[in-house]
């Protein structure tokens, strides 16, 4: 283990948003994080701070996390104003402390959006995303009658494009990064995946109308082409998907 004074060890000041629950006011609290090894992930750094807080009888910082390998989409926070921190294409759990310098002040806040209520500290309620998917983010096929997998050929470039869109992990960084708290990148990615694939075509219109309608109803804002979502998306989902969603939505409305 690294020791203080090592080059690979830094001290930080953390300004962390603390909020007991969704209906109480929150505030920033300052903590010292000492002897942080630069090989640690950001969440491991928080683990160490929390261990100390538990031992000194304080309430540890609540934060969501699970797989810690950048795929489950559970973790996420604003770090110095950036969703998932400063590294491009990286979730918070995959952000390592080598990207910070000794003496840095690090401001950590939860996702901020009307549709994502704070549960506690950095933990937010993202069930609105589930509701958007429930509105139509699937292909209606029961188990049982599927034809052979090779019965529907899908050109490789189409499959790859669909996969680019399907790579979304539903973390909510796009909403947090957007000045309008829009969920269009999230919604557009799912609509795109199915609009691209032949299996998705029968329900394409219904899907686009229902998912966009639900997204608006849940209080997410509109896209104003700020492109912050694409910049901050840990899976680098392209805003092309928003354009495709708009096309699908318009098509569905006219035809």
């Amino acid at each position: 283990m690294t020791k203080a004074g090592d080059k690979s060890c830094i001290n930080l000041k953390l300004k962390v948003w603390r909020q007991k629950g969704s209906d109480v006011k929150g505030r920033f609290e300052t903590y010292e994080a000492r002897n942080v090894s630069t090989d640690m992930s950001f969440l491991e750094m928080l683990d160490v701070v929390n261990e100390e807080m538990i031992l000194s009888g304080k309430d540890p910082i609540a934060f969501d996390h699970d797989c810690r390998e950048g795929i489950c989409g559970t973790c996420g926070a604003m770090v110095n104003g950036r969703a998932h921190g400063p590294e491009k294409g990286t979730t918070l759990c995959q952000l390592h402390m080598r990207h910070f310098s000794n003496g840095d002040t690090v401001v950590i806040e939860p996702w901020r959006s009307r549709a994502f209520k704070v549960v506690k500290d950095l933990v937010v309620d993202r069930s609105a995303f589930d509701k958007i998917i429930q509105a139509g983010g699937y292909i209606s096929v029961n188990v049982g009658g599927a034809p052979d997998g090779n019965a529907i050929p899908v050109p490789q470039e189409v499959a790859e494009k669909a996969m680019d869109a399907a790579a979304c992990i539903g973390c909510g960084a796009c909403v947090a990064a957007c000045p309008n708290a829009s969920a269009m990148l999230f919604t557009g990615a799912k609509i795109s995946q199915f609009a691209l694939l032949p299996q998705g075509l029968p329900e394409a219109k219904k899907r686009a109308l229902a998912m966009v309608g639900k997204m608006d109803e849940l209080g997410f804002g509109n896209c104003a082409n700020e492109t912050e979502c694409e910049k901050e998306c840990p899976k680098e989902i392209s805003i092309e998907n928003i354009a495709r969603m708009n096309r699908e939505f318009l098509k569905a409305g006219f035809l």
Partner: protein, 637 residues
């Protein structure tokens, strides 16, 4: 109690069809009246919830995460097997069945594995229909790649995110049923007890992780799909929230635990680097298609890998297993890496790593082709280690990845408690003593889409179920027991955190119940764990209250149950006086250091029955009968 696996009679290839015919059906109009609880929303739980709801059952689904899309199936990278034989390379249902039984070192049930191979093809069809963006060839056909333990190419994949895409497919189907009102979804709920009434599983007690309140839910059957217990080792590739609590609570209520010592240690993970590390990251086994595993020939060679000439590299897997080379099964690859490191040939700072080198593949296929196959994995590796695997060989080392052991189930996937069905990694059924790569996804989805929807119907159609609700006294009893445990955890106010205990437990299990086991080590581990558990209940510090969002309390409950299962794992390992698959007891090995089975005395499933807090569990045996496969010494040469 005599364990009855309920394997149907008749020839292997006809068992499942015949059984499906013989299972009683529930009238479509009556399905609505049956309430089914599903715990967990990974591949098994998500697919089961969706399928049962499609059939018309009244389903309540619970997950510990904030959304059903986040279950740890999502992290599976490499792929899913199916016996499609699209490559025309000699694959068949029989070959997938045979490879799986052999890969599991002949410690799984023939009938279950055959059924798994049979439905594997339906799974691919179902997932394609759901819009899972599998990799395709230029002509639009589905692409395949190779995985360990097989000489045919039968693995379907979606880049390095196959688990994610399959899970999102199941999540889509589940979401559709939620929207249709057939499934009620409960997120951020942790199952803390199983309610058993008149000997049957009739409900669960969960803690609402946001409010802290305990809630009661009654049903006619309970489906447990809560995953594996690999996190008992503290460091593993499992998600942080993966726990044994729901399975262990069921075990305490009478469900037998089968083969708990069968833990898969995956050969290609990013090595451990420090004590504060919270988890390990897997690098997909698919990398072994193109990566070559090696160590320096001379122990203690300190040169950087690129300066070690070919002649001084030991490609030990290719050398020892020319038939399968770098694609030997996981248990063999893992133990081989350990053997090399034990000889002092390990690399990196800790000397607990071997190289996985893509130099030759990049030379052969070009960087772009390699990037297309493994780009996201290379990127993940670079983020964690700050080294570029296109330039420098990856360093890898085995890590705990999967548990083949789990709650005992019969052919219907029902546990020893009637009405409690166990699916996916939470059961023990299909992988024997070692799971082959790309088979976990197959099993999870087979259980959820294609097996339980039939077998639950068979149970419900013939079970005489008394009408009960959450006011039944057994719900109160369970509720009070759970409440008392939470109060106890909070009241200890000791000096050590739950994670601190967990780390120590992990060390014990890794040291004594890991890749190599010895009787004396296991005996020591048993004592150490008992001692640690005692200390835990005297000295753990949780903080906060039970009536709020309290992650520290969640950790404490998780660790308490790992301390218990850890002991059962050790007891099971001690009882199995042979080596098989992942269970390698030093005293039982061939001259070539391979696992030496004892088919005469240990060709069975060990099932453990809970006997109370201060007693060892009772041993039960389910003999394994092989009628179609000849038991042989596994050879991958």
């Amino acid at each position: 109690m005599q364990l009855d696996s309920k394997i149907p009679d008749g020839p292997l290839t006809e068992k499942w069809d015949r059984h499906r015919f013989e299972l009683k059906l529930v009238n479509p109009a009556n399905k609505r009246k049956f309430k089914i609880i599903v715990v967990g929303t990974g591949l098994a739980g998500g697919s089961a919830s969706a399928s049962l709801a499609e059939l018309g059952y009244n389903v309540k689904t619970f997950c510990i995460q904030d959304s059903p899309r986040r279950a740890h199936s999502i992290a599976a990278q490499g792929g899913i097997n199916a016996a499609k034989n699209y490559q025309n390379d000699g694959d068949s249902i029989w070959r997938l069945f045979y490879d799986t039984v052999k890969g599991g070192d002949f410690r799984s049930r023939e009938a279950n594995v055959y059924r798994l191979a049979q439905v594997s093809n339906n799974i691919i069809d179902q997932c394609v229909a759901q819009g899972v963006p599998f990799a395709r060839e230029y002509g639009g056909q589905l692409a395949n790649r190779s995985f360990g333990g097989a000489q045919v190419s039968r693995t379907f994949y979606a880049r390095g995110q196959t688990g994610q895409q399959l899970l999102l497919g199941a999540y889509g189907s589940l979401s559709r049923q939620i929207a249709a009102g057939n499934v009620r979804l409960f997120t951020r709920r942790e199952m803390l007890d199983l309610v058993v009434i008149d000997g049957k599983a009739r409900g669960i007690i969960v803690r609402n992780l946001v409010s802290g309140e305990l809630e009661k839910y009654a049903a006619d059957a309970v489906v447990l799909a809560s995953g594996g217990y690999g996190n008992a080792f503290y460091l593993s590739t499992m998600a942080m929230g993966s726990n044994v609590s729901a399975a262990f609570a069921s075990y305490k209520k009478g469900a037998f635990f089968a083969n708990p010592c069968f833990t898969q240690i995956h050969p290609t993970c990013i090595p451990v680097h420090s004590t504060y590390q919270s988890k390990l990251t897997l690098m997909s086994e698919s990398l072994r298609n193109d990566g070559r595993v090696w160590v320096p020939k001379n122990p203690g060679d300190k040169r950087p890998p690129n300066q070690i000439p070919e002649a001084e590299r030991d490609y030990y897997l290719e050398e020892k297993y020319p038939g399968f080379g770098n694609l030997v099964p996981r248990d063999v690859a893992s133990r081989s890496a350990k053997v090399q490191c034990d000889m002092g040939k390990g690399v990196g700072d800790t000397k607990l790593a071997v190289y996985l080198d893509f130099k030759d593949a990049i030379k052969r296929d070009g960087r772009d082709v390699i990037a297309m196959k493994y780009g996201n994995l290379f990127q993940m590796y670079e983020k964690i280690t700050a080294e570029n695997p296109y330039e420098t060989p990856m360093m890898i080392y085995p890590a705990v990845h999967y548990t083949m052991g789990g709650l005992w189930v019969d052919y219907n996937l029902m546990s020893t408690i009637p009405g409690l069905f166990v699916l996916g990694e939470a059961n023990f059924s299909d992988h024997g003593a070692n799971r082959l790569g790309a088979s976990a996804l197959m099993q999870g989805l087979a259980d959820g889409y294609f097996i339980t929807p039939y077998t639950i119907g068979g149970y419900l159609a013939q079970a005489s179920l008394e009408k009960i609700d959450e006011n039944h006294k057994e719900f109160d009893a369970s509720f009070l027991k759970v409440e008392a445990r939470i109060k106890k955890l909070l009241s200890i106010e000791g000096k050590r955190t739950a994670d601190d205990f967990h780390r120590e437990l992990g060390h014990i299990l890794w040291e004594y119940c890991g890749m190599e086991r010895k009787d004396e080590g296991l005996l020591k581990a048993k004592e150490l764990i008992a001692d640690l558990r005692e200390k835990f209940w005297e000295n753990v510090l949780v903080g906060g209250s039970g009536q709020e969002f309290n992650q520290s309390l969640e950790r404490a409950g998780l660790v308490a149950d790992f301390l218990d299962i850890g002991e059962v794992m050790v007891i099971d390992a001690l009882a199995r006086k042979e080596s098989c698959g992942c269970h390698f007891n030093e005293a039982f090995q061939t001259e070539e250091n391979e696992a030496l089975r004892d088919d005469e005395n240990f060709c069975h499933v060990s099932a453990w029955e809970y006997k109370g807090e201060s007693c060892d569990p009772a041993f039960h045996k389910e003999p394994l009968e092989f009628e179609n496969v000849k038991l042989t010494q596994r050879s991958y040469k």
